[in-house]
């Protein structure tokens, strides 16, 4: 199981996966936007999205849990 956390305060611009989706190491899960910069959030493991805890338009804090990959 791998937890994916936010590295910084950001807005959730795009959510590219849904719970139940299979993902591979290197896939983009979510694109955050902070201070006019796009920051892709990348899967660092193969697996299935067990939990997805953000929605487009959310403002999330540094360390916020974005997704759990199993």
């Amino acid at each position: 199981m791998a937890e994916v956390h936010a590295e910084m305060v950001a807005n959730v611009w795009k959510v590219l996966v849904a719970e139940g989706d299979a993902v591979e190491d290197g896939d983009t899960l979510v694109i955050l936007e902070s201070m006019k910069m796009e920051i892709p959030v990348i899967a660092e493991d193969d697996g299935v999205i067990a939990k997805l805890l953000v929605a487009e338009g959310d403002v999330i804090q540094e360390g916020h849990l974005i997704a759990v990959i199993e």
Partner: protein
């Protein structure tokens, strides 16, 4: 002269414009989003009108709401700052149609310079040197490949309507071209421009040097020296200085004359900047683009000329016949203090615990924040501009080292450690650097 000015912007530039408006004896009206209610520019204005939510589309970029704020506050003129509405011809037109004074160039001049391909062709006709490149928009990869057979690799690929380095990429071969073209097309789609792509021959060892111009009310255009903006990360400026340590007096003279011709070609009124790329080895320059607004880095010009550019903008917009001095003396450097980590330059917004600005001879700080404020993720990462002035470049560098060391920011991540590192970098200190400097420092 009008009696009140609404500043349609935020942060450091709103605060800086408000300061000049008030010094001129005029009433300054601020507008602000919910995220910015506690910032200094809101408190320091004579009147402040809330616009709406943090999202710029619902606040700073909501034309109807900004115009309503102007009506409600009785403001007679609008200063757009930079970014947001500053290069939006439609907004400029609606300001004028509402019977208000637009502190900027005519909507026609904004339009003619806003499309990079148009601007490039117009400059070529006016005798301003341009890079070998496409004269009509390229809309698919096959056209791009065909164009490069004439231009030659390497090429810079960019969107015709874009700015701020977004979507720009360099290609050295056809595979790279396909990738850069894809990236630029995506940026064009996202930021609302059409699929119009521009290709230009890419200069390997380039300096980014720009000329400040002022179009005066009597129709003449004057140049107020140049700014070297070659210290960049992700094609965005971090440090600017004037004069440029990388051009000869002869090249400077040619560049200033070309910038005046560029301004005259569009009947330019007010403050504008003609951006050029200089081939550092050949001492030749080409036109890059014209910014029809006040630049972020305008303070370095103010420090070497003694001219308040915002005051000039206001006087020109009011129809006053001004004749600002154009001679320069000494050396000025600006450091953009960004809320970002100093290694990878990734955003690091947060609440400011400690904020202590340096002061002293030759030090000027234009800041948008103070202790207790929160830097939010909704806007650009610029927290402050640390500017220094000295009789010589060596004196300016020495003052910069002291000023950077004396600037304390706790809370958000910030790039002051990068500024300190740059001030010890032999290339930067020696002056013979180019736009690849920051990448080399982080290689």
């Amino acid at each position: 002269m009008f009696e009140s000015v609404l500043v349609a912007n935020r942060g450091e530039i709103a605060r800086r414009v408000i300061r000049t408006v008030q010094r001129m004896g005029l009433r300054a009206v601020a507008v602000y989003s919910e995220a910015d209610a506690d910032l200094p520019f809101v408190r320091e204005a004579d009147d402040a009108i809330p616009l709406g939510p943090a999202n710029p589309a619902q606040s700073y970029l909501d034309a109807g709401t900004v115009l309503r704020a102007a009506r409600e506050s009785g403001a007679q003129a609008i200063h757009p700052g930079y970014g947001f509405f500053s290069e939006n011809a439609a907004f400029a037109r609606s300001v004028i149609d509402a019977g208000l004074v637009w502190i900027g160039p005519s909507p026609e001049a904004i339009e003619r310079m806003g499309d990079k391909i148009n601007a490039r062709n117009l400059m070529e006709e006016s005798g301003v040197p341009v890079a070998a490149g496409t004269r009509v928009p390229v809309t698919d990869l096959a056209q791009a490949v065909a164009a490069v057979t004439e231009i030659g690799y390497p090429v810079m690929v960019k969107t015709a309507g874009g700015g701020g380095g977004i979507g720009m990429g360099v290609a050295y071969d056809e595979a790279g071209l396909a990738k850069a073209f894809e990236q630029a097309s995506r940026a064009a789609a996202r930021f609302g421009g059409g699929p119009a792509i521009l290709l230009e021959h890419y200069i390997e060892r380039a300096r980014h040097v720009e000329v400040q111009i002022l179009g005066l009310a009597d129709g003449t255009v004057v140049a107020l020296g140049e700014r070297d903006c070659s210290v960049q990360r992700r094609h965005q400026k971090v440090v600017e200085e004037s004069p440029s340590p990388g051009i000869t007096a002869e090249l400077r003279e040619r560049m200033l004359a070309a910038a005046v011709r560029a301004g005259e070609a569009v009947g330019y009124l007010g403050a504008g900047t003609v951006e050029c790329l200089v081939d550092a080895d050949k001492q030749e320059f080409v036109f890059l683009e014209m910014n029809t607004r006040l630049q972020v880095e305008h303070p370095v010009t103010e420090l070497v000329t003694g001219v308040d550019l915002v005051e000039q903008q206001i006087r020109i917009a009011a129809g006053e016949r001004t004749a600002p001095p154009t001679a320069t003396s000494g050396h000025a450097i600006e450091f953009r203090v960004y809320a970002e980590d100093p290694r990878r330059f990734l955003p690091g917004p947060g609440k400011i615990g400690v904020w202590e600005e340096p002061s002293g001879e030759g030090v000027r700080v234009d800041s948008g924040y103070t202790a207790g404020n929160t830097v939010t993720p909704f806007y650009d990462p610029l927290m402050a501009k640390l500017c220094v002035f000295g009789a010589t470049r060596a004196e300016a560098l020495e003052r910069a080292r002291r000023a950077v060391a004396g600037f304390t920011v706790e809370g958000p991540k910030n790039n002051l450690p990068f500024c300190a590192e740059l001030l010890e970098n032999p290339e930067f200190v020696g002056g013979d650097y180019d736009t690849g400097l920051v990448s080399r420092m982080r290689a």
